[in-house]
Structure formats: structure tokens, C-alpha cells
Symmetry: D2
Subunit: 142 residues, 4 copies
């Protein structure tokens, strides 16, 4: 299997058990080695008191993209920490696309940058996530 095929297989295996991403209405648009693009529409139950998408759900779509990007090479990997900057509000019915890519991998620790844009390609948030590889694979690498 080549790296793209490995990424596709990891994503398919993750998706099968990914209750959280399904519940958020996420679509996994594409994955590759160290990268992912995912999409989510802002629903009524994601809107906060200011009339805009709650920061938790902007974080969530970024975090889903992060998860598919960092688990794309058949090493089980979890997020250890993350920073997010909310640079513009998102609103009801906006379509948010999170695009993630690896910036660094050193031993068990990695750093990924994820950007969230709306349907007009306006930047909504910048997210930086740090990963730790745990034991195990999604499928037998042999």
C-alpha cells in the first residue's frame, strides 16, 4: 500500500467508530499522509447567545480535521493539547471547512496546523494541535 492508500484505509476504519464526527454532521472530504480536510454545517444547536457558532463547535470541526490528519499513517495518535484563535465569527448555516497538515513530527510528538474557513473562504479560526503517538495501529501494517 502507498501512503495515500494507507491514509484512506485509516480514515475508513476511524469513521466506522467515530460517533462524535457523525453526530456533528461532519463530512470527511479527503485525507492524505499527515493531512485532512473535513466539513461541517453550523446547525441551530451549535449557536450561542451572541447569535454565532459556539467556539466549542468551531474547535470541534478543527479537532476532527486534526484527528484525521494525525491518524493518517497507521500509528494510533491522540491530541495532547491545542491552541485556537477565533478570528471571525461563524453563523447559522455556514459551511465550515477545516484543513489540517503536519508541521513537524519528532519521535512520538507532532505539531499540526489546522485552518477553518467558511463557504466564502473567509478565515474563521487558526488551530494548532500537538499529538502523542500511543501504542497500536488501525490495521496490521504487515
Amino acid at each position: 500500500m502507498n501512503p495515500q492508500q494507507i491514509a484512506n484505509k485509516c480514515a475508513a476504519l476511524m469513521w466506522a467508530d467515530d460517533h462524535a464526527a457523525r453526530g456533528l454532521g461532519v463530512e470527511v472530504v479527503s485525507v492524505g499522509p499527515g493531512t485532512a480536510t473535513v466539513r461541517m454545517t453550523v446547525r441551530q444547536d451549535m449557536v450561542n447567545v451572541h447569535g454565532t457558532c459556539h467556539g466549542g463547535f468551531i474547535f470541534a470541526i478543527a479537532d476532527v480535521g486534526f484527528g484525521y490528519a494525525c491518524n493518517s499513517e497507521n500509528f494510533r495518535t491522540v491530541g495532547g493539547s491545542a491552541d485556537i484563535d477565533f478570528v471571525a465569527p461563524a453563523h447559522l448555516d455556514d459551511v465550515l471547512t477545516a484543513t489540517g497538515k503536519r508541521r513537524h513530527q519528532g519521535g512520538r510528538a507532532g505539531v499540526y496546523d489546522i485552518e477553518v474557513h467558511n463557504q466564502q473562504d473567509k478565515l474563521i479560526a487558526l488551530f494548532r494541535g500537538k499529538t502523542v503517538r500511543i501504542k497500536g495501529h488501525f490495521f496490521d501494517p504487515a
Copy 2:
């Protein structure tokens, strides 16, 4: 009105329009000037591929606590950025309590620390959120 009464009134006005917190099944346990405690149970639709609560929902409950804490003094306030450290996993049916308090307020910018614990008082995440006061109040201060 004293500061506690102001905090209670802000929280009640926020809650009326807080689709996001309601959708997450959040309970606002208490608020005070610059503080808040909120609670959420980890549902099936918050669980990720690793069998644990998706980081996005741990962030979300912290962010809800942050929102009630930073909007407790009748100045409309939004989160500008946040950092989260995931220090232990949360699981299905865990009850997560987020407790937030202000660390600093300077002009329009503030810093809040929120801790998330599970039902056994085990620390799950440390969250630090940065706020910006926008224009407006929840109710007429006069």
C-alpha cells in the same frame, strides 16, 4: 443589584438563547462575578474512535464554563483564543464539571482558567481562555 445578583441575571438571560449549551446537555451549576461551574454528561454521540470523549466536547464544556464566567458582569464578552491541555481521557457516561475563574482583567482583555474534572474529581483538562469585551450589555445597567 449586587455582583452575585448581576451574575445570576446575566446567566439567566444567556441561557434563554444558548442553543449550543442546551444541545450539549449542559447544566449551569452556579455563577458568580468572574466565575462559573457547569456540568455535562458524556453521551454516545461525543465518543471518538479511541473509545473516549472527543477532545472537541471536552473543549466545549470548558468553553461553556468560560463563556458564563466571562459574561457574568453584564459586559458582553467573547472568547478570542484558548489553549487546552488534555491530561486524562473521559469516557462514555462520565460527568464532566468545568469550573472557571478569572485570572486577569485589563481594559477590554481578560484571561480565564477553567479546569475540567470527572465525577471522581480526576483532572481531565486544563483550559485557558482569553476574552475581548465587545459593545453592549445583557440588561440595562441603570
Copy 3:
């Protein structure tokens, strides 16, 4: 004046009073609108107990690059917060180059990414800085 000339003039005016950058032995390699490249050699007095460059000085060279990048358009700007990931150690006599660029500018707030590499182009640190524009200019814009 075009944007490049404005950036050069801001950098020259900053440098005249920049005791901190001079004391660190920094060289400002280049600036442009929203960008900067600066360089510093790791001295004996920057080395810590582990025999490697103290994190404070890796942060410092990134922060100097951040400062020149975010002050390149003749709006006086200060750093409000920053995050740094130390991804590889730096050693005595290493030459560290920090390259910064703006990721977002919205009203008074901006986000900049700075990378620090050593003389072998190995990534040493990833830095993300958030800015606030204060009042004033480096020179009369008229």
C-alpha cells in the same frame, strides 16, 4: 513610499532603540510587509543546565522576528500573547534564524507564525504570536 520601503523604514527606526535585540546579538536579515527574518548565534550565556540553548533565548529570537514582522506597516503594535513549541534542541554556536509572517489581521488584532531553524535548516521551534495595535506610528504617514 511603497510597502517594502515602509517596512525598511520601520525596521531602521525600531533598530535604533532596540537595546534588547542588540544585546542578544541579533541581525535583522530582512523585513517586508508583515514579514521579517532575523538571526542570532547561541552564546555561552544562553546555554542551560542541559547543555542546550535555554528555551527563553529560543523564544527571544522568535519574538524579535515577530516584533519586526508585526511592526512593518507603520502601526505601533505589541505582542499580547504567544505560544511556542520546542521541537529540537539548539546548541552553543548554533546560528538560529527566525522567519515570521502574518497569518491574519483583523481590526487591531493579528496572528503571526514564526519558525526558528538552525544553520542546517533543521526546525528548532514553532512560535505563534498574537498582536494588538496600539496608538501611534513610527513615522508620520503623511
Copy 4:
């Protein structure tokens, strides 16, 4: 040896090789298990173009406190990442005190909070550092 004696011995062994802290003019005021207090005076060569202490040096004193706090239990530990919020400026001749304490230790990873105050006990910066334990001790634990 009790925990306080271990902390004192680690700090003494660190200090002997800590060129960076000495060069910054740092005084290690006290250490304990998971805690440290350090102090530094803002010198002319730490002042930036805005007439205030360069953020790199505010970070540096926080980072020194972080280093003594996280290396206080005879496990060699390095900083993996850090976030800092600059909440008020520091000026020439200000005496900055950084006080650090552990918030969490889980296996090899830890989280520490460090506050920097000036001589009037005004909060200057909030710093959160994340650690990784590497191999080795400062002295034979047996």
C-alpha cells in the same frame, strides 16, 4: 532526603551549570517539590523599542522559574511547549518575580503555571509550560 532537601539539591546542581540564568542576573529565591520562585531585574539590554522590557525577557524569567520547578524532584525534565500572556508592561529597573507551581503530572508529561509580578505585586504575565521527562537524574537517587 525529604522532598524539600531533594529540591534544594537539584537546584544547587542546576545552578552550577546554568549560564543562561546567571547571564540574565537571576536569583533563585526558593524551590520546593514542583515549585520555584526566581527573580530578575530589568536591565537596559532587556528594553525594546517601545521603552518596555522585551517580551523575550519576560518569557525568559518565567521559563527559568518553570525550569527550576519542573526539575525539583530529581527527574531530568525539559520544556516541550509554553504559552504566555503579557498582561501589563515591565520597565527598566523593575524587579520581576516568577513563581511557578505544578498543576498536573501524568507519567512523563506535566503542566506548570508560572506568574510574573513586578516589585509592586502587579501581574505582568501568565505563563503555562508543558514538560517532558527525559532520562536521567541530577544525582544518584539511591
